[in-house]
């Protein structure tokens, strides 16, 4: 079912769904709604999941995802494929906006409180091959994260998902700032090493 008419004549809906993200972004730049819709469908799940993980409430996560995708629609011309995949770009926007929301204290008090256990109720069943692949990928990354020494995974999680600065984390954990930054580096290095073979991170 088509929710909305496409803005102008363009590739057929089925044809658009066959295109790679980078090709779709070319169409998004030209105002092709069908291309935007496909980008949304491909990445909204992980975007919402990330926003929910950071914000801790469904309403805030929805606001963040809405803002992020509309920013993508309005500034698609800024996507530069030489700097990474569309997914990385989208998730970067989502992350920044979710952390901004946290720091504005909009959701500060409720973060990490999964409101009414909604995370469990929302957990998505995999319907497509792509979603199954995404689930497997997520599992592999979680395993790699869990394999890190706890002191390293903790500082990474507090910084990335919690939006805390290294000085805040140092105070929280009662450790020197230099130690915290060192743990961050060691953790990221190990994560890279663990995932390099899977092709999820680039070997540089």
């Amino acid at each position: 079912m088509t929710l909305l008419p496409t803005h102008r004549e363009g590739p057929s809906r089925a044809g658009v769904r066959e295109l790679a993200d980078e090709e779709l972004m070319g169409l998004v730049r030209e105002g092709e709604m069908a291309a935007f819709e496909v980008i949304y469908d491909r990445h909204s799940r992980v975007a919402f999941s990330l926003a929910y993980r950071i914000c801790g409430t469904r309403s805030s996560a929805e606001d963040v995802v809405q803002e992020a995708f509309l920013a993508l629609w309005r500034s698609g011309a800024r996507y530069d494929r030489t700097r990474g995949s569309v997914r990385t770009w989208v998730l970067g926007i989502v992350h920044n906006r979710a952390i901004d929301a946290l720091r504005r204290n909009v959701v500060h008090d409720r973060r990490r409180a999964s409101d009414d256990g909604i995370a469990e109720r929302l957990e998505a069943p995999e319907r497509t091959d792509a979603e199954v692949a995404q689930r497997d990928e997520a599992r592999e990354i979680r395993v790699a994260l869990q394999a890190l020494p706890e002191e390293q995974s903790r500082v990474i999680e507090l910084a990335y998902y919690g939006g805390f600065t290294h000085t805040e984390i140092a105070e929280m954990l009662n450790a020197p700032v230099g130690t915290i930054k060192g743990r961050m580096r060691l953790g990221l290095e190990k994560l890279r090493g663990a995932l390099e073979g899977s092709g999820m991170v680039t070997a540089r």
């Binding site: 102008r8 949304y40 995802v65 309005r74 989502v94 998902y161 995932l195």
Partner: protein, 235 residues
């Protein structure tokens, strides 16, 4: 590498930087360093690839169907608004001359107003090329390029080649109405490559310009300097 003696000591900073864990002033300082140090830039790129997988590790949830409907409806509405938008007559720029700006802070001569119409299908949202302070004001070799994309009563400021704010400062966004700059409480820093895309909060109807200054970390209630970026809106 002998040309970049700092790099051996800054890998830990690179890790905190890519995780977004440096505070505003530190991030600005390190961002500026990265732009001039290829070794730290390579380190940032290397560690960024590990950070890029972190969003994928969270429990995967279904995004609500109502959210999809809302996002697509809003995007379609943008496109329709854009079609109705017409190039506006933009005001001239005597304000900065009146402010007595000169020397390093003199604004680049002339307003470069490009009411560019985005490609046909996207709809002609208005893109306003902002005036920016001269390169010397930014302590940079090249002037930043700033554009305000306006969609009906909303807008987004897009800046490229923006140097990191001076130590201890961040960039702050203002909306000018009736000659008075009103705080938006939006503070921002460019990415390591100097890019920034900043949504202008609130309604732009009746506003005369969107401005950017560099203010102390935490922001200011009133601008403490002449605008570094000035995107004039329709009169």
């Amino acid at each position: 590498m002998s040309g970049h003696p700092e790099h051996t000591a800054r890998s830990d900073d690179a890790a905190a930087y890519v995780l977004g864990a440096l505070d505003g002033a530190e991030a600005a300082e390190f961002g500026a360093h990265v732009r001039s140090c290829p070794i730290c830039a390579a380190e940032v790129a290397r560690l960024s690839s590990a950070v890029a997988v972190l969003p994928l590790a969270v429990t995967q949830l279904s995004a609500p169907t109502s959210l999809r409907r809302r996002v697509l409806k809003e995007a379609a509405s943008d496109a329709r608004d854009g079609q109705r938008t017409r190039m506006r007559a933009l005001r001239s720029w005597p304000r900065f001359a009146q402010a007595g700006l000169s020397g390093a802070f003199a604004l680049a001569a002339g307003i470069l107003i490009g009411a560019l119409l985005l490609a046909a299908g996207r709809g002609p949202s208005t893109v306003i090329r902002a005036t920016v302070a001269s390169a010397a004001a930014w302590h940079a070799t090249a002037e930043p390029v700033a554009e305000l994309e306006r969609y009906g009563n909303r807008g987004q400021l897009i800046v490229t080649r923006l140097p990191a704010a001076p130590a201890g400062k961040v960039y702050e966004l203002w909306i000018e109405r009736d000659g008075v700059a009103h705080a938006t409480n939006v503070l921002f820093e460019p990415t390591s490559s100097g890019a920034a895309a900043v949504d202008v909060p609130g309604d732009l109807n009746g506003a005369s310009a969107v401005l950017v200054t560099a203010e102390r970390v935490g922001g200011a209630k009133v601008p403490t300097m002449a605008p570094l970026i000035d995107a004039p809106l329709a009169a």
